[in-house]
Symmetry: C2
């Protein structure tokens, strides 16, 4: 028995409005729900991308049906990689450029995988990568 | 155009050996590759779970084919949720208990989703959750 996948992946930001704009408008993720000053939750493929303000989630306990939702929250630059198709690499470069997002690095991995790295407004290291980087087929990310 | 899913999800720890034991032996994740003092990478369903030591990844730049792999690294308790089946909840409770892992909280969500929360050795908030929590079917996590 082991987990069947990752359901929620998380980054933190102190400026939730800037983060929301970035992930919704530049990356094109669908906003599922949000709570001012605490979080914005996005759907991404079969999983969820959760953006939290650590000053809220590390100190203000919330409860659901009387049960604690545990505290968490980090400072510093987190990291996360989103899956893209190899055929979309050029279009992503154009979109990032048009949005004024500086590409920090591009990596061509020995196994044929490709990565584009840039920063979100909070300084998190965001990566767009082809599934081949981890020996996965692009079709495995079809929903 | 938007990302097709999340390819890499990340947590940090200062004790990589304890983290490796926890995620490999308690959660049952497959170790794909590791570098002493820097990282252990696990496969989880269609994605990767990357465990890093922030003292390394936030300060020591690495290069691949001459290209920079950007710096990142956080302190504090991060969060991540793994997808499990509802039929496995009881077995997970037993496994955590047998491994001496204290369940911090269990939440029964209004939509029928279920979550079990506990801490990894670094204090990260780890969640085992049923996909229903986000309106997803368990079968969507079959690989």
């Amino acid at each position: 028995m082991q987990p069947h996948g990752i359901l929620e992946s998380v980054l933190y930001t102190r400026d939730l409005a800037a983060g929301r704009r970035f992930y919704a408008e530049v990356l094109g993720l669908e906003v599922v729900t949000e709570q001012a000053g605490r979080h914005v939750f996005f759907r991404c493929g079969r999983g969820m991308f959760l953006l939290f303000t650590p000053d809220s989630t590390a100190t203000e306990a919330t409860h659901v049906n009387g049960c604690l939702v545990p505290l968490h929250g980090t400072t510093g630059a987190g990291h996360l990689a989103f899956a893209i198709r190899e055929s979309e690499l050029e279009e992503w470069r154009h979109r990032l450029s048009a949005a004024g997002v500086r590409v920090e690095s591009e990596v061509a991995w020995p196994n044929g995988g490709r990565s584009i790295y840039f920063r979100d407004p909070a300084g998190n290291s965001v990566e767009l990568a082809t599934p081949r980087l981890w020996g996965l087929a692009e079709e495995q990310f079809d929903t």
